[in-house]
């Protein structure tokens, strides 16, 4: 599950939300819409391998048509991202159009366009929520991942928002091995600017696959993160990212299920609809908003999404005592690390993921579709490492029958 910060009301029916959501909803409640692959930065862990604009990106009019559809479907709000969405010259026009059509906007930015004037404007609208990305509480840690100057840019944006009287904007941190010792500092930064801290999980998606081995938290850090989250309760948002850590003890607040294709999906800059923003790969591509029937047709009737909504039973994780809250973890994390989709998460707190990673066959890892990285990007770790020779072309697109079979993709075939 990703990016969904919410609070279920305690209602009388006996059914648990997770069981209801497993069957899918008439419209997504957590829709991410990446407006462009263009970005002024080249973060080493970018989930969408962004950098350069794609010439096929949706036009202003096409974006407005998508918003009309979302309004009809009563999608309450969209999480707009990219790339850096604010570099689109029609960005504010799209935001205004959405809020005028009952679609709230929460957008993620590195802060590059958040001038004092824009901050004033944002402070006036209660239908636009801003999320500033920051991956280190110090320039040193942040800039190592997000690039030189990016810390200063983010801090300037926060200062502008705070000066404009905007309260409660989000500071969004992707938790890494390098920054997990800084949680208290992040919290202090959020408090200083009247913001709310949001911690999310690093996933091996996009360029994140290249750096995951070096950046993902160590087991003892995961434990520390879990304890820190429990201690801070609902004051810190997580977008339901860390439900695999629930196996340490009590479930963290949130839905605790992989919502891909059930409550979550992604519309990418060229209108492709994927099951989850962390799963930009043809195996998780459900359709395109430009095709007949538009987004509604894809969400309600695509073969992929219907398949994802089939409840599954059985498997090894299902016998795990923590399955009820962990549910085998994140589909995208498993997929891009080459693990079976119905097995344990690579960061399984019981250590089964590490075992599985060690026992992985030498097959090529699946590559995300569409690399929009700047051609001048700093060399990526992959190029510094020996390239594994691939002898077979097994695409892990079908889940072996075992382990966390309640995972939405277990037993799923694309062919």
């Amino acid at each position: 599950m990703t990016m969904l910060d919410m609070k279920p009301a305690d209602t009388p029916a006996a059914a648990r939300l997770v069981d209801l959501f497993e069957l899918g909803l008439d419209a997504p409640i957590c829709l991410t819409w990446e407006l462009t692959y263009a970005c002024n930065l080249s973060c080493s862990h970018c989930l969408s391998s962004s950098g350069r604009r794609d010439p096929r990106e949706l036009s202003t009019e096409e974006c407005k048509a998508v918003i009309d559809e979302l309004q009809r479907m009563q999608v309450f709000y969209v999480n707009i991202g990219g790339g850096e969405p604010t570099v689109r010259s029609d960005f504010w026009e799209i935001v205004d159009y959405a809020t005028a059509h009952d679609v709230g906007v929460k957008f993620s930015t590195n802060g590059v366009k958040i001038t004092p004037e824009i901050a004033q404007r944002l402070a006036k609208s209660s239908y636009v929520d801003v999320q500033i990305s920051l991956d280190g509480a110090t320039a040193e840690v942040n800039d190592a991942v997000r690039g030189p100057g990016s810390y200063a840019t983010a801090i300037r944006a926060m200062q502008n928002l705070s000066d404009a009287g905007y309260r409660g904007f989000k500071i969004s941190v992707v938790c890494t091995r390098q920054n997990l010792s800084q949680l208290d500092e992040f919290k202090a930064i959020a408090d200083r600017y009247g913001a709310q801290l949001r911690l999310t999980r690093l996933r091996p998606s996009g360029r994140g696959a290249d750096v995951w081995d070096d950046l993902h938290p160590l087991p003892e850090q995961q434990r520390g993160l879990y304890d820190w989250l429990v201690a801070h309760g609902e004051g810190v948002l997580t977008g339901d990212s860390f439900f695999h850590l629930s196996a340490y003890g009590n479930a963290l607040p949130g839905l605790n299920l992989c919502g891909a294709g059930r409550v979550v999906c992604l519309i990418d800059p060229i209108g492709d609809v994927y099951a989850c923003p962390f799963a930009i790969h043809e195996n998780f591509l459900a359709g395109n908003v430009r095709s007949p029937g538009g987004f509604r047709e894809v969400w309600q009737h695509s073969d992929l999404f219907l398949e994802l909504r089939n409840p599954q039973t059985g498997g090894a994780c299902t016998k795990c005592q923590f399955f009820d809250s962990c549910r085998g973890g994140c589909m995208a994390a498993k997929f891009f690390t080459g693990l079976p989709l119905d097995g344990p998460d690579p960061e399984c707190v019981r250590g089964f993921g590490e075992d599985a990673l060690r026992d992985r066959s030498g097959d090529a890892l699946p590559k995300p579709d569409g690399d929009h990285s700047h051609l001048t990007s700093p060399p990526r770790p992959r190029t510094n490492k020996p390239v594994p020779i691939t002898l077979t072309m097994r695409r892990p697109d079908r889940a072996p029958v075992s382990a966390c079979a309640e995972d939405p993709l277990s037993g799923f075939h694309t062919a």
Partner: protein, 104 residues
């Protein structure tokens, strides 16, 4: 002390939007940016009926809630009131239809 007095008139907060779903409904509050779920269709009927009913109790009875179920519904409505999804309305406003108008 319950969060909601069954014998007062209540209504949905004007910034709350309701989306029916097969299992009940989703509620979204544009002001607090909070989502809530109604996991039960009867509760949805109650919530929708609030604005037209003289009291929350009357809305429950009109939706077919039995006496024995009343405390459960009182609790559920109380949860919604606590998160500002429901607000108490002055009796005079009883005729006003529920509004999903946004003041933007």
């Amino acid at each position: 002390m319950p969060d909601l007095d069954l014998d007062s008139p209540w209504t949905l907060h004007p910034q709350v939007s309701v989306r029916p779903e097969p299992f009940g409904a989703l509620l979204y509050h544009f002001g607090t940016r909070r989502l809530s779920f109604l996991k039960d269709v009867t509760l949805l009927t109650v919530v929708r009926g609030l604005a037209q009913a003289p009291t929350a109790r009357a809305a429950c009875l009109a939706a077919g809630v039995s006496d024995s179920e009343l405390p459960t519904f009182e609790r559920a409505l109380g949860t919604l009131a606590r998160s500002s999804m429901l607000i108490e309305r002055p009796p005079a406003a009883a005729e006003a239809p529920p509004s999903k108008e946004r003041n933007a």
